[in-house]
């Protein structure tokens, strides 16, 4: 009962907000507390939108933490599904959780994914004294004895970091993926510590998590999971050029409510593209360890659908979902 009351309060607050706002006075919901990646997306995109005069008034950022983004998702789906002035920060975590039914029954087709404007490339890393010199060496070792290589990563079991090595092995034709060992630790730095300490043989994570350790020489990156090599890290080969067709990046982007018109959707797509191409955003990406990754509009929605479908398949195979 209390929950319904809260919801009602939320709705009436939203209605009064809509009543007072006009034109392109947009709102961006960051489904987490201030300080994280989603908050960063909202604040940066919001600022650049206003700087580029794409909106009339400064974008209002609302932090709506809860259930790993699930609270914001259900608010958008249930209460704000026709609000054309609303954008919501999202990332790979959003689609992974949707694919794994972690948002209390909500599905990915209940909103429209409008665009990604940057990405943290996925990487697979080993300690500097590891016997593996290439991704191929590691894949061969796993094929010979799946228990011999354990991965450490910062996301939960079945999370994005877990999926990366599974995708690589699938691409190599190895289908017995439940045999692959993965332990979930508290973040990328911990995962590297476990790998350098020899408790796990490899670390799976994002580029931004490993930059300091690559520079200090404690670890070597076997592969980056992008289409092309990442500027600034040109000596790290992609998985693709080593013969494993896997692209896994932790994208940063936005979704919008399902019920808005196609014009409004395309309007947001164009605005995001303009943000992605601005110098301000490029500088911001560089300062925060993001690589360029721009995909907007219908093209992005198609890509998301593929990612979700693949995550569902993999999650079922490793038993995270039924």
């Amino acid at each position: 009962m209390k929950f319904t009351l809260l919801k009602a309060l939320g709705t009436s607050a939203a209605i009064s907000l809509m009543a007072t706002s006009s034109g392109w006075a947009a709102e961006c919901i960051a489904p987490a507390n201030p300080g994280g990646g989603w908050d960063f997306t909202c604040r940066q995109v919001g600022k650049i939108l206003y700087d580029l005069k794409l909106v009339d008034a400064p974008v209002q950022v609302t932090n709506m933490a809860g259930a790993g983004g699930g609270l914001a998702y259900s608010t958008v789906v249930n209460d704000r599904s026709e609000d054309a002035n609303l954008i919501v920060a999202a990332s790979s975590a959003t689609t992974t959780r949707l694919a794994q039914n972690a948002f209390g029954g909500a599905t990915a087709d209940q909103v429209r994914f409008v665009g990604a404007i940057g990405a943290d490339p996925g990487v697979i890393v080993v300690a500097k004294d590891s016997p593996f010199q290439t991704l191929g060496d590691m894949v061969e070792a796993i094929k010979a004895d799946p228990g011999s290589v354990a991965f450490a990563g910062g996301s939960a079991v079945g999370g994005f970091d877990h999926m990366k090595p599974l995708q690589v092995l699938k691409a190599a034709g190895f289908n017995d993926i439940t045999k692959i060992k993965y332990i979930s630790v508290d973040g990328g730095a911990d995962a590297i510590t476990q790998t350098v300490g020899g408790f796990t043989q490899a670390m799976t994570g994002d580029m931004s998590e490993i930059v300091g350790f690559i520079k200090s020489g404690e670890v070597r990156a076997l592969a980056v999971l992008t289409e092309e090599r990442v500027p600034g890290f040109d000596d790290i080969p992609t998985a693709r050029e080593q013969g494993f067709d896997v692209v896994a990046v932790n994208w940063r982007g936005l979704y919008v409510p399902k019920g808005i018109s196609d014009e409004a959707f395309n309007g947001w797509a164009d605005k995001l593209k303009a943000v992605a191409e601005s110098d301000e955003w490029k500088a911001s990406m560089e300062a925060n360890g993001l690589a360029p990754f721009t995909l907007v509009g219908a093209e992005f929605q198609t890509w998301i659908d593929d990612v979700v479908a693949e995550t569902v398949t993999l999650s079922k195979e490793i038993g995270v979902i039924q």
Partner: protein, 506 residues
Amino acid sequence: MDILSNLALGFSIALSPFTLMLAVVGAFVGTIIGALPGLGPSNGVAILIPLAFTMGLDATSSLVLLTSVYYGAMYGGRISSILLNIPGDEPALMTTLDGYPMAKQGRAGDALVISGVASFVGAFFATIGLMILAPMLARVAYFFGPAEYFALYLLAFCTLGGMASQNQAKAALAACLGLGIAMIGLDNNTGMPRFTYGNLHLMDGVDFLVAIVGLFAIAEVFFFIESHGRDSAVGVKLGKITIPVKDIIGSTGAMLRSTVIGFFAGVLPGAGASLGSFMAYMAQKAIDPDKASYGKGNPRGVAAPEAGNNAAAGGALVPMLTLGVPGSGTTAVLLALLMTLNITPGPTLFTDRPDVVWGLIASLLIANVVLLVMNVPMVKIFVKVLMVPAWILMPGVTMVSFVGIYSLTGSYFDLVLMIAFGALGYVLRKLDVPTVPVILGILLGNQMENALRRAMTLSDGDWTYLFSTPIAIGLWVAAIAGFVAPMFLRGVMKKPAIADADDLAD
């Protein structure tokens, strides 16, 4: 040198007027909390955490404020030990042995000054020890895998649990209770809800700050309600404060030895300040030729435990900052603060957040000097505070707890939960079950479970993996010894008659 340049960075942060003010306020409030019987450092820090958030302090400022309170409480505990023969907190227990006899002989002022100086020596050198030892320990982390972490958490439970109670079974029960509460919420390995009974508020688990404030602060209020009218009055006269130079010089050796003993007792995960002051006192008594005068007002018997417990307070910060395993009840509360501030204690803390670590260390050094000034020339102010009636104090504690927790979570459900924890804390203390292991369980339960599950993943479910390395075996042995040893130590440890010292909440 590396340490010096880091320290310079620390002082550049700590010497800002605002941070300095927080250190002074923290030291003052801490001394009062320490001096009041019943309110110990962990209660004090627990009550003030929500307040720090309400004030919108950043990470460094909150840490400075609360560690100043922590150090201050270690100083303050001695005041009621000496004047009332009631330890202001458990670590000050040993100070009653010689402190109160001194006061009865009309030397209360001397005892306060000697113990104040001893506290300063202990805390000062322990902070320097922290500076040197912590970065070294941080490198040890590469040797800690899931099996070692599991054993380390177990060691924290065993030593803190073992020390915290008169009865090992009750300590174990309390730890299990805490671990059980930690299991509430989403399982972070499978995402399945556990023990939530469909209640959305329980999906994210029980917030440890709610549990801490409930178990410590609210339970304390219930105790005061029960014992109203039994307010203690200062029975001994406190004359003019002079500096007993001869006694201080005579106790220099005792202070320095006790500092070393106390510091290492503090570094042991879970052991904490009570063990530090106990061991320091026993060691001092053992080597002193004049054994007969102990317990009758020997100044060295006041200096040793005070240096020991303050040194242990500094030592207990080492495992908390470097490994994320608290060395005492209060550092467990401070760990909760770090986690809420999104700072992950551990080996990478020293490289990732040098501003936090070195700002903290520098402000500890500053707080220490402030505390020396407050606790020697200005000690009379705190003696007056001891006379504040409970009917003023306790409503204040209640209000701060409620406002603090509500401002933190904004949830009515958490207030109810906090009261429930208060009732639980009251019942547990009535039954002589220690509450510190409960907190430790809630705080470390999930991490301990994760370490175990990681170990099982890596070893394909082979339990012997938990004992597979020398470090892990060493930790297991230490854990068992830490749990069993207090049973034998208890026979040696002579407990003075005191009114209420059932919570080892150092």
